[in-house]
């Protein structure tokens, strides 16, 4: 049986206690996207500012959630800030690949985000995010870990739609 230490790694608890990039951005110009975890009612808000150079100039996280969803959001914000949109999407795919095998087994396919089943790219380095790997041993918590990433994806889609409009 997976123990609590598999789930609550020290680095996860650190991001939970000291969340990075907590706050708000003025929207517009930033994009404000809300994500919901229907299981527990957690709500997350991602504020996303994409510069003319196609890089994520700034990102802030609002809302409330459990240690897993909050630390995942914190790590996500730190990981994608300053990255290009393409790189952020790559990271999203890699992170969801880390979580997906089990998630799709639970739901009978997909994770409800509407994106294609991600394929892992061995080139993408997840760094700290790999600490969340233990979550897959606790299937009901996978939604907590992917919430901020699904919300980010939505924000990136909106930003892209805006850029072409």
């Amino acid at each position: 049986m997976a123990g609590l230490e598999d789930l609550y790694r020290e680095i996860i608890l650190d991001h939970y206690r000291n969340p990075r990039n907590r706050g708000e951005l003025e929207a517009p110009p930033a994009h404000r996207v809300e994500g919901f975890n229907p299981l527990c009612g957690d709500e997350i808000v991602v504020y996303l500012e994409v510069g003319d150079d196609g890089r994520i100039a700034d990102i802030k996280i609002g809302g409330q959630g459990c240690s897993i969803s909050q630390s995942s959001a914190s790590m996500m914000s730190a990981a994608v800030k300053g990255k290009t949109v393409a790189e952020a999407r790559e990271l999203t795919r890699a992170f969801k690949a880390l979580m997906t095998i089990h998630e799709s087994r639970l739901d009978g396919g997909g994770d409800g985000s509407g994106t294609d089943t991600p394929t892992p790219d061995p080139e993408v380095k997840l760094g700290d995010l790999e600490a969340l790997q233990g979550v897959v041993k606790f299937p009901v918590r996978i939604k907590c870990a992917t919430l901020s990433w699904n919300t980010l994806s939505q924000g990136l889609d909106e930003a892209a739609a805006d850029a072409t409009a």
Binding site: G3, L4, L7, Y8, L13, L39, C40, G41, D42, E43, Q64, G65, C66, S67, I68, Q70, F138, R141, C144
Partner: protein, 406 residues
């Protein structure tokens, strides 16, 4: 005679299969006694055929068992006639039936209905679906800070309303609502009174006539019965006046290319093959609850809930914030709380690690969560097989949780 938990547990095979077993989530679904499981197995092994169709002996036997179950359930809630008991798949379907049958026939733009802020989504969303289809106003009875319905403005809220639909017992706060007072107020205002009895009937002796409701819904799996069966009771004249909800086999007298004639009660509201084995199981669940005695069931819950309130207060003081009425006598066996600044998901994860099954989340009552200004709560709920030792196990696990996240 007071319930003896050790004896009660002998009736529940899961207490044999899982040890230790601290199950504090009966508000979501109760465990099943051996008598219920055995009755359903015996039905499948010896008596199964589809009902109301064959003339052969076996089909008649199955039909007799199914209709016998209806009569048993009628007796359990003191319904005047068995044909006033409609079987559905759960209380959610029963309430959807009310909205789509009665509501669609009687409501339109300019009309109003009244709900309460403490409703389960099952008594909100069916009305919102109908509202989007035909348009009417939904008014809300507010909840006071101590988790009771604020009835100070009831007359104004009911003024001109055509329906009041409310929960008998809150699945989050545990509050036992003044059902008779509310059904009387609805009737005085000329409104139909509908009660969601999902958390009421498993815990409080239910007399649908004394409660004065027009329609009363409940669900089998929370009262020792199987999943897959729910009930709607209504008096004959009202049910006769309501159009069918689901259409199909079993609910018609005649079908032609240009239309159909609905069957008589209760079949008019039971389209398709009904939950036969589930009805057999639910009837035995009623036997079991009567054997334990509903008065004793209630007294036991008050005692365990009181012990839990005291224990949490003594051991954790302000670190545990319990929602709902402070007095155990005015609440059911449901205890929702937050613990320190920890998220309920994290709390229940640690509790699970220590073998304690409780629920975390919004408990399908998001409007209420917004009123309480919490995102989620931890919920422990008690039934006949829980005792003070379960409460102590909960408190010990909370202590470990505090240490873990310390």
């Amino acid at each position: 005679m007071a319930l003896d938990v050790a004896t009660v547990r002998k009736d529940f095979p899961i207490y044999e299969a899982r040890k230790p077993f601290v199950f504090l989530d009966s508000a979501a679904s109760s465990q099943k006694p051996r008598a219920v499981i055995d009755a359903m197995t015996a039905y499948y092994e010896t008596s199964h055929a589809n009902v109301h169709r064959g003339v052969y002996g076996l089909a008649e036997e199955a039909t007799a068992l199914y209709e016998g179950a209806r009569a048993r359930v009628a007796r359990f809630v003191n319904a005047p006639q068995a044909k006033e008991i409609l079987f559905s798949k759960n209380v959610t379907e029963s309430l959807n039936l009310v909205a789509q049958s009665w509501g669609r026939a009687h409501l339109g733009p300019g009309d109003a209905i009244v709900l309460t802020e403490m409703e389960h989504h099952a008594n909100i969303v069916p009305w919102q679906i109908l509202q989007a289809q035909i348009g009417f106003e939904i008014r809300w009875i507010p909840v006071t800070p101590d988790g009771k319905l604020d009835l100070s403005d009831l007359d104004r809220l009911l003024d001109g309303a055509k329906l009041l639909s409310f929960t008998g017992v809150s699945n989050v706060l545990g509050t036992i609502n003044p059902v008779r007072q509310l059904t009387d107020a609805a009737h005085a205002a000329g409104a139909l009174a509908v009660v969601d009895g999902a958390q009421y009937t498993p815990h409080v002796a239910t007399d649908v006539q004394a409660l004065g409701a027009d329609l009363f819904a409940f669900t089998g799996h929370k009262m020792l019965g199987p999943t897959g069966i729910g009930v709607l009771w209504g008096n004959e004249a009202l049910l006769e006046s309501m159009p069918p909800f689901l259409g199909g086999g079993g609910m018609i007298r005649d079908v032609r290319k240009d239309g159909f004639l609905p069957d008589e009660l209760p079949h008019k509201f039971e389209a398709g093959t009904p939950p036969i084995a589930e009805a057999v199981g639910l009837a035995v669940a009623c036997d079991e609850l009567d054997r334990y005695d509903m008065g004793e069931v209630r007294a036991h819950e008050v005692a365990v809930t009181g012990y839990a309130l005291d224990t949490l207060r003594e051991r954790f003081a302000g670190d545990v914030v319990v929602h709902g009425p402070a007095d155990p006598a005015s609440r059911g066996g449901v205890l929702s709380f937050t613990f320190k600044d920890l998220h309920p998901h994290d709390v229940t994860q640690v509790l699970d690690e220590h073998g304690v099954c409780v629920r975390a989340g919004h408990h399908c009552a998001k409007p209420l969560m917004r009123c309480l200004e919490v995102g989620a709560v931890v919920r422990a709920s008690f039934y006949i097989y829980n005792d003070e030792a379960d409460v102590d196990a909960l408190a010990d696990a909370l202590q470990r949780c505090a240490e873990f996240f310390g």
